[in-house]
Subunit: 134 residues, 4 copies
DNA sequence: GTGGTCTAGACCACA
DNA sequence: GTGGTCTAGACCACA
């Protein structure tokens, strides 16, 4: 399910962290559930175990996961389910960047909105959800 | 006018390349016009001249600029003015990434659209262009 | 095996590129084989690692080699073994330059041929291959 | 008559020196004859006068030319007409380099000779001197 | 003044 | 261990 881009300048261990965080945020991984083992995930991502180990280590420092010696890593129980608010804040950041980029290229707001809507449509169709936005 | 983020994982010389490319794409720098000198731009960006030199060198390899010995660097004359098409293709990529991110977080299209519109509004207001989208 | 002339006007990084290219062209380095590490080659050539790094980087941009993160650089697999044709084209260029130079000095073709043959003989003898051309 | 390649790594002022030297060696410029003025040559070569000035200055240091204040530069009278020997020594160097290059590419002497002869033929024909080597 | 090359050496991600 | 980026600073050709 989780992927990583080795050609990106964004470090592999940061990409792994992001992917895990997303799984937790979306509820795909719930509090207390085990993470894949470092070795398994590493071989699945075609990456050195050190890289996954670093990602897990830093996620633990962030309190998102806990590691039990000799047993493995688990989603932290104390980790409150991600509120809609946190999720939205994340999206705000992403959209703000895209908008800033577009405006930096001298696009007018109405043009930006039009293009965005058209792209959104494409994604909706690609996911085979029919013709509407919902 | 042009900025660079030294804390980003995206390399400084790549950031410089991107910034110059944007200036050309938006027409802020037209064919034949001189670029800022390596030393000037470097000191303006608070960056080592070598870093700007590498950016300029790679932009020349890409054919976007030309350098005249002892005189400086110029926007390539052969560089056709960027069509609206190229610009849009660039935007599509950016928006597609943002949308994919949002959908990966299980947002519904209508939610995505709503959030996007709200963010776009904020940017419009921040730019003090009145109250509408245009 | 490979050398570089620090007194030449021809840049060191270009010399390194040429030397590597020659090793690939002659089959001394085959597709998939590892190149010497940047640090090793640099210290062997008595040159700064940055210089070798630039040579390798540009060879990668040319598609001649590939670099694997944290592992090293390898002769590109897609790099078809150099045909006799390419080799000859290279020699043609070199000989043409020498001939043009000689003719620019008003040498007659027969004189040029005579001198060339004498020099070739010397090289053959220097290599201790006996007395003939073969 | 004389040319220069601005894209070469070989410095322009060295190229100018070489060209002048060749003119003297071949007798195109004889002892006592005036050289083109710095300004004329510079504009003819599309080069900055400083560059030609440097070439002339260094040729004077070498004793090949003399400059008379307010009058211009002249081929040095003391400059003995170039003997066949000097000319040959120059050619030897050029051919030796070409041969070394070819042998470095694992060519056999007989192959080298064959290729060279073929190229020489081409040059002869290009100069429209008929079919033979003389 | 302009770019271009090169060195010395630091710091980082990745294996 | 591997390569990649970056800085500080020297020296050079050219305008």
């Amino acid at each position: 399910m989780i992927k990583v881009d080795p050609t990106s300048y964004f470090p592999l261990y940061e990409q792994v962290k992001e992917e895990i965080r997303k799984l937790v945020m979306t509820g795909a991984l719930k509090a207390g559930e085990p993470l894949p083992s470092i070795r398994d995930l590493a071989s699945h991502l075609v990456v050195n175990p050190n890289t996954v180990a670093r990602a897990y280590r830093e996620l633990e420092q962030d309190g998102l996961i806990v590691t039990k010696k000799g047993k493995g890593c688990y989603v932290s129980a104390t980790n409150s389910p991600v509120s809609q608010k946190v999720l939205e804040a994340h999206l705000h950041k992403i959209f703000d960047q895209a908008i800033a980029e577009a405006m930096g290229l001298n696009m007018k707001p109405l043009e930006i909105q039009t293009i965005f809507d058209r792209r959104l449509m494409r994604h909706v169709k690609k996911d085979k959800k029919g013709g509407g936005l919902e």
